[in-house]
């Protein structure tokens, strides 16, 4: 295998992994502030992409994306207010079932609002055929956009959760709701805010991956599975680790393609996930049964 080919596999892995990573980020936001794992996160991506594609018919791309982010954020709040806000102390299993139900609901709604067809936003720079050359290997400029947007999200979320009063209050709510309330923090309002953030970030992710993955009403589930894998692999609640894990999974898949038939790619990814769950289960199950977010693990690895 030539050096250029090796580099190409690496870049392909980064391209695939960047998509997983940006989906993984969305899972960590809601988990951080509420301890809930939102299995409808993939649908927020789909909604963002779909709304942006629709708005793009009569708005410039940037405005269409901004509009999609805001609208999807509001949908996120509406979902939380209507379906989740009245639950007192919901168990993990119940929350999982509710969010899975929500994902089905949103998928079917999208099928009726839009259609069954595949849509795609145009690439943010260049066109569908352009690529960046890196030492003889090539990569779509859109992958650079995905990485840039992921980095921005990580930075913004880290700053928000670490240094702003609202961010700290959100972490406080997840850590100990009763104590937070005693300190005068309005917990319900903050939960709505976290759904707004997760849905809006999901929508932005949906827009930035749309030129690569394309957008279809039922894209959410398969993306969510991979994104969730990465969120777990990174240790749930840790935003930057989710990104690292996403890229790691992508590169490992790509490495498996280079030696094994492509069909074994998912076997490799799922084997890694199972191994992680067996060897380091605390990232997933310890956090969920404690019913509180892992305080102070938002930014650093």
């Amino acid at each position: 295998m030539s050096a250029a080919q090796l580099l190409q596999y690496l870049l392909s892995g980064v391209a695939t992994g960047s998509i997983y990573a940006i989906v993984g980020i969305g899972f960590t936001i809601i988990y951080n502030s509420t301890g809930i794992i939102n299995f409808a996160q993939g649908e927020f991506l789909m909604l963002g992409g779909m709304i942006a594609v629709s708005l793009q018919a009569f708005l410039p791309l940037t405005a269409a994306i901004a509009g999609a982010v805001v609208v999807t954020g509001l949908v996120g709040v509406a979902v939380q207010l209507v379906f989740l806000s009245w639950l007192k102390k919901p168990g993990v299993l119940r929350m999982i079932i509710i969010t899975i139900g929500l994902s089905i609901l949103m998928r079917e709604a999208a099928l009726h609002v839009w259609d069954e067809k595949v849509h795609a936003l145009p690439p943010w720079s260049g066109d569908e055929t352009s690529s960046l050359a890196v030492l003889g290997a090539r990569i779509s400029p859109q992958v650079a956009w995905v990485l840039a947007v992921s980095a921005l999200m990580v930075a913004a979320l880290t700053l928000f959760f670490r240094f702003t009063l609202t961010g700290k209050a959100m972490r406080a709510c997840a850590s100990n709701p009763a104590a937070a309330r005693l300190c005068g923090i309005r917990a319900p309002w903050l939960v709505s805010l976290s759904f707004f953030l997760a849905a809006a970030m999901g929508a932005l992710a949906g827009c930035v991956v749309s030129p690569l993955t394309q957008t279809q009403y039922d894209m959410g589930t398969s993306l969510a599975v991979k994104g969730f894998t990465c969120a777990v692999l990174g240790g749930l609640g840790n935003v930057s680790a989710a990104v690292g894990a996403g890229i790691l999974v992508g590169v490992l898949e790509s490495a498996s393609i280079s030696v094994l038939p492509l069909a074994y790619k998912d076997v490799v990814a799922l084997t890694i996930m199972l191994a992680i769950l067996l060897l380091r289960p605390q990232g997933l199950f310890a956090g969920m049964t404690r019913k509180r977010g892992p305080l102070g693990r938002v930014g650093g690895a």
Binding site: M1, Q5, Q8, Y9, L11, S12, G13, A15, T16, I19, E108, L111, D115, E116, K117, V118, H119, A120, P122, D127, E128, T129, S130, S131, R138, I139, S140, V209, L212, T213, Q214, Q216, D218, S222, L223, E253, S254, I257, S258, P261, L262, A263, K265, D266
Partner: protein, 382 residues
């Protein structure tokens, strides 16, 4: 006691409903349709379901087929073989349908092959795989062209272009598996060697890795065989990698949504397709032209959308069945015999010539080689 009375009355009601169901109405044509209206193959099932509904409404508005109204039982299988089986059982046992149109996919069709044959229900599959009608099952027909014909058209075009070493990519759906088998079987006959053949997940979102591997094999062309959105991703990834070879797609590409999704990367892709897509450009002497233009106009007027070859399969299935009912009434044995004896019936997919040994009835010339130019389908210049 009240509970028992309620239980009894429900039982009686169900029994009554069953009896009326069994009796049926001899003056109607009971037609089932199992199509992937939603799910990953919705791009096949949706135009098919719309077409069927449109044709049934039209037939009933005109007094039915030979004076018999059509009762349509449309089911959405979501592309899942399990659902297709349970809907088929329901349509056969409870609704006692004369025929089932569909399913949309090859995987589902293969699951229904034995079921329809055992229950003597006519199946008019809209899927591609050759195995649906080879070996022939007396009650199973298919109106979509053979994947073997598509593969042969692709290889003949390659021969003309001087291509002899190719890479093959297929999706892990029934359609992809069927295509892979036909491509690998038929390539040697046209002097073409397949240097590498890879299978990807039908929900794949990035294929640059496997394309890098294929490029490493120094192939002269790439064939991708799938019906899923991934076929647009393949096109984008090929161009982004600067992998500068002709790309061939299967007849699963015949849908403008994929061209729109792939944008500039779709330009120049070569694929075999039915003539629905290029009806305007056909010579007036073409036997299909009038029917194709009418179908296009009706579909676009009602659904404000471009028709695809897939909707055309449903059109052909209904046309064949309606013609058989006109000739033979609603006795299932006679209808089956009538289909088997049909010659020279023009459909959207081609001219159908059925026989006891050929339950597809389409020849290889039902395909036209097309390419994409300026975001539109045009015939490939020879």
């Amino acid at each position: 006691m009240r509970g028992r009375a309620l239980f009894l009355s429900i039982g009686i009601f169900i029994a009554f409903a069953c009896i009326t169901g069994w009796a049926g109405n001899p003056d109607t044509v009971r037609l089932g349709a199992i199509l992937a209206v939603t799910g990953p193959n919705a791009n096949l099932g949706t135009p098919e379901a719309r077409t069927i509904q449109m044709l049934v409404d039209k037939a009933n508005a005109g007094g039915g087929i030979a004076g018999k109204k059509v009762e349509l039982f449309l089911r959405d299988s979501q592309g899942s073989p399990e659902k297709a089986i349970s809907f088929a059982k329901q349509l056969i046992e409870e609704e006692q349908v004369l025929a089932i149109i569909g399913p949309s996919t090859s995987g589902e069709s293969m699951k229904l092959k034995g079921l329809c044959n055992d229950s003597q229900t006519i199946l008019l599959s809209c899927a591609a795989a050759e195995t649906i009608v080879n070996p022939v099952s007396p009650w199973v027909f298919k109106v979509a062209p053979m994947d073997s014909s598509a593969a042969r058209m692709i290889f003949q075009t390659m021969k003309r272009m001087g291509i002899s070493r190719i890479g093959v990519l297929t999706s892990n759906s029934g359609f992809g598996q069927g295509g892979k088998a036909q491509l690998e079987k038929l390539a040697p006959a046209d002097g073409i060697s397949i240097a590498i053949s890879e299978v990807y997940d039908k929900e794949a979102t990035d294929l640059t890795g496997v394309l890098t591997k294929i490029r490493g094999q120094n192939v002269q062309a790439l064939v991708n065989w799938s019906t899923e959105p991934a076929q647009a991703i393949v096109l984008k990834n090929v161009r982004q990698l600067g992998f500068d070879v002709p790309v061939f797609q299967s007849h699963g590409f015949g849908n403008l949504a994929y061209v729109a999704a792939a944008g500039k990367a779709a330009e120049g892709v070569i694929f075999p397709a039915g003539r629905v897509l290029v009806a305007d450009g056909l010579p007036a002497s073409n036997l299909q032209k009038k029917l194709l233009m009418e179908y296009r106009a009706a579909y676009m007027a009602q659904f404000k959308d471009e028709p695809s070859t897939f909707g055309g399969h449903a059109f052909d299935a209904f046309t064949v069945l309606a013609e058989a009912v006109r000739r033979a009434g609603t006795d299932r044995n006679k209808v089956r015999d009538a289909i088997e004896g049909m010659k020279g019936i023009a459909g959207t997919g081609g001219i159908f010539n059925f026989s006891p040994a050929d339950h597809n009835g389409l020849a290889i010339d039902c395909f036209e080689m097309l390419t994409v130019k300026d975001g539109k389908f045009v015939p490939l210049a020879r």
